[in-house]
């Protein structure tokens, strides 16, 4: 066993230990650092290992370019990581994902250009083995094609997902006529081009075909994501995270590197599990999400039902009085709270209520925010103790014994239509039973629908009071009244 193999083994163990650490809040930070250490070890080993290029090819050690590239990437990475707002985490993950996919795509193309082209007079069928891989020509070529396909789809899919999340492009599903045929056709075209390039053509012609296949794969990524509504982007990002892992794995097959295969597979599995957890939280299947069309198209199906009748609204003064009398309060935060930057005033409000002797908790829906666990991060940023954050299943039974529920910037996750109206597009989606509380204060700008684009009958309930206005401004008023009274 070479030293580099040993170092790779240690790195793989550190990745596994790091992910294991992620299972608990108390060990999660150390877990992340362990993974980072594993990565550092693997990078250093790869950079300094003499004669790494297999097949005895002369090592073109361009130290300036090599270290320059790493330094440039590291600086940009740190800047991105320190500057990004916590509300924009899903976009950040999507962007980084895209970079990872792009890197795997480029690795496959680079290996094809550099390793295969100069060495192959014929199609890979004639090759008993390439320089970079001892897998044999055919299998190696499959790995190259897979890296190109998955890498390119990850790149463009992530960019579209990021733009949708950042609302740079509309989150409304773009439904082209015959889109499934177009998607399938594009995929078949990629496969056909790859087969011709890998098995029948050779030299520059084959390389050109692969480039075309890469471009088509990129288009495939765009086509796959545009029909999916903005509300489903977190699932898409998580799935693309999985793809970026798979792309790294296939790049590992291309370069004959077991650490890439291991780490990529770990990430591939993690992304798929998270996607499934998210789908379950929305009571939808992964397939249903990926087919697209959900969200934005729904209001048409809802017909004229979006009119509200008998909605009661209230003022900050009255809301403060109601809260002053409450002995138990549950906050239901949604993404709207983060957009209004209201999490700090929410925290102040909860502290004041606690001082008055009320029990204060936060109910966290699994898909609150724009990705799972996003709300926890946003509240942690505002210094809310994480033991006050209670998951849906644990708190749902408590709503009926709760005096006041304050819904801030959340909508679909407290929509009782999910349990009461079998015709509703979100029927069956698990929700927080906020409507069971004695009083529900809904802090919201207007009666406009939430991300899923449907009406929320909670607003018409007798126990619901709408607090119209900017979440932060309204709650600041409430806080002022409460402190004065």
């Amino acid at each position: 066993m070479d030293l580099i193999d040993l170092l790779f083994l240690i790195a793989a163990v550190l990745f596994v230990a790091g992910l294991k650490g992620m299972a608990r809040v108390s060990t999660a930070r150390r877990g992340n650092l362990l993974s980072a250490l594993g990565m550092l070890l693997a990078i250093v080993a790869t950079v300094v290992h003499p004669g790494f290029a297999p097949g005895g090819a002369p090592i073109g050690l361009d130290w300036t370019w090599l270290l320059g590239g790493i330094a440039l990437g590291a600086i940009l990475g740190v800047l991105l990581a320190l500057m990004v707002k916590m509300t924009a985490m899903p976009e950040m993950v999507a962007l980084l994902n895209g970079f990872g996919g792009a890197a795997s795509l480029l690795v496959a193309l680079s290996a094809f250009y550099g390793d295969y082209l100069p060495n192959a007079a014929d199609a890979p069928a004639a090759l008993s083995g390439t320089h970079l891989s001892i897998l044999g020509g055919h299998v190696w070529m499959i790995a190259v094609v897979a890296s190109i396909l998955v890498g390119a789809v990850t790149l463009t899919g992530s960019v579209v997902a990021m733009l949708k999340l950042a609302e740079k492009i509309s989150g409304t599903p773009v439904l082209l006529p015959g889109r499934h045929l177009i998607l399938g056709g594009t995929f078949l075209a990629v496969m056909a081009l790859s087969i011709v390039a890998g098995w029948f053509w050779s030299g520059q012609d084959a390389a050109m075909l692969l480039i075309v296949a890469a471009i088509l794969s990129g288009i495939l990524g765009i086509l796959a994501v545009i029909p999916i509504g903005g509300a489903d982007m977190p699932v898409v990002v998580s799935l693309l995270n999985s793809y970026s892992g798979i792309a790294a794995s296939t790049a590992g097959f291309v370069m004959n590197n077991p650490l890439l295969i291991t780490a990529g597979a770990l990430v591939g599995a993690s992304g798929i599990i998270l996607s499934q957890i998210m789908c379950k939280a929305m009571n939808r299947s992964l397939m249903n999400v990926l087919v697209g069309g959900f969200g934005g198209a729904a209001p048409a199906a809802g017909g004229g039902k979006s009119e509200y009748v008998g909605v009661k609204s209230t003022s900050p003064e009255e809301a403060a009085m109601i809260l002053a009398d409450a002995s138990s309060v549950i906050f239901v935060p949604g993404y709207g709270m983060a957009v209004a930057q209201a999490q700090h005033v929410v925290k102040e409000l909860s502290k004041t209520l606690e001082k008055r002797g009320a029990q204060v908790r936060y109910a966290i829906h699994p898909v609150a925010g724009r990705m799972p666990g996003h709300m926890n991060v946003l509240l942690a940023e505002a210094d809310v103790p994480y033991d006050q954050l209670v998951e849906m299943d644990l708190i749902n039974g408590d709503f009926k014994n709760t005096d006041v529920v304050v819904v801030i910037g959340a909508n679909d996750v407290v929509n009782p239509a999910a349990i009461e109206d079998p015709q509703s597009p979100i029927a069956g989606m698990p929700i927080l039973n906020a409507h069971e509380a004695r009083t529900v204060l809904v802090v919201k700008r207007s009666l406009s629908p939430g991300y899923a684009g449907i009406k929320n009958p909670l607003f018409e309930r007798d126990n619901a009071l709408m607090c119209f206005g900017d979440g932060k401004a309204f709650l600041e008023e409430v806080l002022k009244e409460l402190k004065a009274g």
Partner: protein, 91 residues
């Protein structure tokens, strides 16, 4: 060799499923950004490409791959640490 690599691949998938299922929802966002950083492991392949004495076209692609993969790795780990720090300070 192919069998061995496939074996490693499958084993790692099983390990991934086992590890991730145990992570509580509270930590799903940092988990996603953290595992995302690990997928930047493709950086090793990019380094190998840039080092392998390839021609200019392959080398340029290798260089761009290095930059992008490093952003993925460093950005992912740093932003995850930033989140974990916020979870930590309340204890």
């Amino acid at each position: 060799m192919l069998f061995l690599l496939l074996f490693v691949f499958l084993l790692a998938i099983v390990a991934g499923f086992e590890l991730i299922t145990k992570v509580p929802p509270t930590l799903h966002t940092p988990l996603m950004s953290g595992s995302n950083a690990i997928s930047g492991i493709t950086l090793l392949a990019a380094i190998a490409c840039a080092q392998a004495g390839y021609g200019p076209a392959a080398k340029i692609m290798g260089f761009i791959a290095i930059v992008l993969a490093t952003i993925n790795v460093v950005g992912g780990f740093v932003v995850t640490d930033r989140m974990m720090q916020m979870f930590k300070k309340k204890k």
